[in-house]
């Protein structure tokens, strides 16, 4: 195993900031809006990336800190900003996210919000974990915990509902998760549902932020649920609910591939106390059928995977399952335990991949050295693969150089089947 994973610094990082993760979570709640306490660029860069990925209007406000605010403090800007936002959009919940600049100048967002919320009839949620040190995974986690902390109340009775925290998944993935869960038992709530807000029909009411839907309502009842299913590394919300309210924490891998989807479905069945459900058996069989068919095309091929750590981990297992060798693995950001988990998965299949984090530069060199046959990951890897003439399958976030990838799943048996199709086509059936 490599020593590359933990390194001093990287000269070409892929490190989406914590604000992106927080915005990602907040956008999954209809009627909620994020506001970034920082320079205008903080919100515009995040918006720009998300707009290109989701192809939807993305609404994240900024408090527009200028030089004088940086010197004299941005409290007035924050107060005026929140008031302006509420006056214009009338949201039900406002997530106030700190940025690196507001952290360095030492803005006290919590106390400002406490004072403000006395006068305003809106949930004001401070999302203020260290902005400098953290990345989008932690940003998502922080946003999730902060919102839950703000909305949930302790109630003794329990319902048989299951909470789902999807993490950095696409709208298509969430639709697929819902379909699978509906097959088992229709008794679940999503604590952030980006499929409702970031994949909307062409109609004007999609721009109205004063409409809330059940997600915000659900958040209030998250504490009385039976269990919380969270995927990958975006699972702090589940841990929070367990610790505070005793809601069972089921943290599993993103359901990509046979094993991971099996685990997801079994966990769901066990929690719902559903004995037998055949509806997904056929899908599983079709995936196995396709995997058998694909063997000659994919076997012994070497793959590189790049992306969000949770998704990457699941894709690596799926790659092993279909008989390809994961060779170079890169997580966008450094997360604890990622390297060991990848090593554990690959060991079962007898592979020893090199693992890097947050370093495109090293990733590129490793890909070049290892004679990779195919790469799976997000659009930031595309220029490298084009240069090295390696076929590339886009998956995860962000994909901005292909049309409509956010709409289709890679989770569940059907999603995995789609991923497999894309891999085989990229390897052998290119035009």
């Amino acid at each position: 195993m490599s020593v590359l994973y933990q390194d001093d610094f990287s000269i070409i990082p892929t490190h989406p900031c914590s604000a992106l993760g927080a915005v990602y979570y907040i956008l999954g709640i209809k009627g909620a809006m994020p506001i970034l306490h920082g320079s205008q660029g903080c919100s515009t860069f995040v918006r720009y990336l998300m707009i290109r990925h989701f192809r939807e209007p993305v609404r994240a406000a900024a408090t527009s800190l200028y030089e004088d605010n940086v010197i004299l403090g941005g409290r007035d800007n924050l107060i005026e900003g929140i008031k302006n936002l509420i006056r214009r959009y009338n949201p039900k919940l406002v997530g106030v996210i700190n940025s690196s600049v507001s952290e360095v100048i030492g803005e006290d967002i919590e106390s400002t919000l406490r004072q403000l919320s006395e006068h305003l009839n809106v949930h004001l949620v401070p999302i203020t974990k260290k902005a400098i040190q953290t990345n989008y995974i932690e940003g998502y986690n922080t946003a999730c915990c902060s919102v839950l902390d703000h909305t949930t109340k302790s109630i003794s009775h329990k319902t048989d509902v299951v909470n789902i925290i999807p993490g950095i998944l696409n709208p298509g993935d969430i639709e697929e998760l819902k379909r699978i869960l509906t097959c088992i038992k229709e008794s679940f709530i999503f604590l952030s549902d980006i499929s409702k807000t970031m994949d909307t029909p062409l109609c004007k009411s999609c721009l109205d932020f004063s409409i809330q839907d059940e997600v915000l309502e659900n958040l209030k009842h998250a504490a009385v649920s039976k269990a919380t299913i969270a995927f990958g590394y975006t699972n702090s919300g589940a841990a929070y609910l367990e610790e505070k309210y005793g809601v069972k924490n089921i943290s599993i891998s993103v359901p990509i591939g046979i094993y991971n989807t099996d685990v997801f479905i079994e966990n769901a069945k066990a929690t719902f106390e559903v004995e037998n459900s055949d509806c997904l058996k056929r899908e599983r069989g079709i995936l196995l059928d396709a995997m058998a068919d694909a063997v000659p095309y994919v076997m012994m091929k070497k793959a590189a995977v790049i992306g969000e750590p949770g998704t990457v981990e699941a894709i690596v297992r799926f790659i092993c399952e279909i008989g390809m060798e994961p060779k170079v693995i890169m997580s966008d950001v450094f997360v604890k335990g990622f390297e060991e988990k990848i090593a554990g998965i690959c060991e079962q299949y007898g592979y020893k991949p090199t693992v890097v984090a947050n370093d495109v530069f090293k990733f590129k060199h490793l890909v070049k050295e290892s004679e990779i046959d195919i790469a799976i990951g997000h659009s930031y890897a595309v220029p490298i693969m084009k240069k090295l003439k390696i076929p590339m399958v886009r998956a995860g976030f962000p994909v901005y150089d292909k049309f409509g990838y956010h709409r289709w799943p890679i989770v569940g048996y059907k999603g995995s089947l789609r991923l497999l199709d894309m891999v085989v086509n990229a390897l052998h059936f290119r035009d």
Binding site: T44, P57, L78, R87, V101, I105
Partner: protein
Amino acid sequence: MEQLLGEEISQCKKLKIKRSEKVEIPECERKTAPGVITERSCAFYGARWILAPIEDAVHIVHGMPSCAYYGRTVRKKNYTLFSTDLREKDVIMGGAKKLYETILQAVNHVEAAKAVFVYITCVPGVTGEDLSLVCKKAESEINMPVVLVNCPGFSGVSQAAGQDIAIGVLFKHFIGNSTANESHNSYAEKSVNLLGEFNVQGDLDQIEGLLARLGINVICAFSGKASIDSIARGNKAKLNIVHCRRTGYKLAQAMKDKFNIPFIKLAFIGLNETADSLRKLSEYFDISRERVEALISEEMDKAKKEAAQYLEILNGKKAAVFFGASRMGSVTKALKEMGMEVVMVGSQFGCSEDYKEAACQANEGAVIIDDASEKELEALLMATEPDILLGGMKEKYMAHKLGIPFMVFPQEFSAFAGFSGFVNMAREAAGLISAPVWKMVKNRYRSNSIDKGVREKVRIAVASKSGIEVDQHFGKAEQFMIFDVSGDERELIEIRKASAVEDSCEAVKNSLQCRLDLIQDCNVIVCVKAGKCVHDKMQSDNKRLIEAQGDVISVLKMLSETAD
């Protein structure tokens, strides 16, 4: 249009309505209000906008790694961008050493690197570490210039600040530093620089092609086609052509002062504009009139012929324009040339000359707005009801949800500059406007107004100071916007100022009375709040009083929906 948002919105500084008597310019380069979804960006973004295309330089972001992550993409193109990947301890203990190491490492990975740009972003901008010594040290180590681009996101009011900073860096450190042989004289006679041209989808090739046919060569295009060497040779040009005023004008002025190079503002968007530009150039360089006219008439005829079928579709259609900055003037001209009406012109950070140019071209009653936020754009689009909106990626999907076709700038498919660029632009606009999908969108703003004139007209008075939002109490209202509404049709009749009658009112009670008198012909009054006696009075007069907040148009829409 001039009726909808009012022609006397004296309080709203950034929004003006075009009237024939005099062209009013919105107050620009102001701060953005906090809490809006701004279409502007930060200084770092602006600096990247200018410097990213310089490929034989090493670009290093000194700051948070995420700034490098986002800053890699400029005008939808990906560039290599290094970062010092600052962590918490570097913020506390100082990141100078890391910067030094990064410079030494990064230089090895860019072949033919001739210079290093170090972007200073927010966090080191706040901590204020002195990095010039590190740059000096690195400079002597790697033997090429290492320059600081001091563009923390909070400087200035928009990305324009960063553009100025980047241009300043180029001017101070590179232009005129050519070490190449001075006798090398191939660009002696007719050579120019293009300032503020970014070569989107081959725009520059179009312009260069036209200039080449007149025997004019381009030394350096700032910065669509700029290398460290060509920038250094920039001072040898005989003339500077300012293509984008925002990014080019200051540099042109500075080069005039230092190198004595004259400059002219030209544009190569639109047929007439391109032809005019070529004529001006040939005059300057003493190129024979026949040669230019021959070129112009050949290209012009060809373009007109090709564009004819598209212009037929575009004729009389309404367009709205919302850009970064100065293209809005030339694009507005081109749209007019296509036979379209321009009902709204706006930009994120234009200067007053930009607005003047655009305002002259726009139609009577057009809205001219600086730094519109997303919500304001939405309101303005609803009010102006254009058939197409031209703007940046960030506004695209918002326009779509409103049922308005959208044309993206920087464009994605073909060059828009020069004669053939005009055809491309007309083709794209015509295709977008006439797409069948827009006929299938049910709730498009105008599809509801089927039974025109059948419904009864209702006269509504709205207490609004800004002209955009319902923002005044009845008793203190300074002005009322008077609308005639029938169904979904709204027409702003006039704006009535309370001050006009207030002088004659003595007591407070009378001031209420005189307001009631002022709007006595209205059946409905909309204001933020009103006192009990006003409520009573309205009831006794069998009129409606509605207390509401929000933007005027939404409130009126809501009213007409609930009226049925």
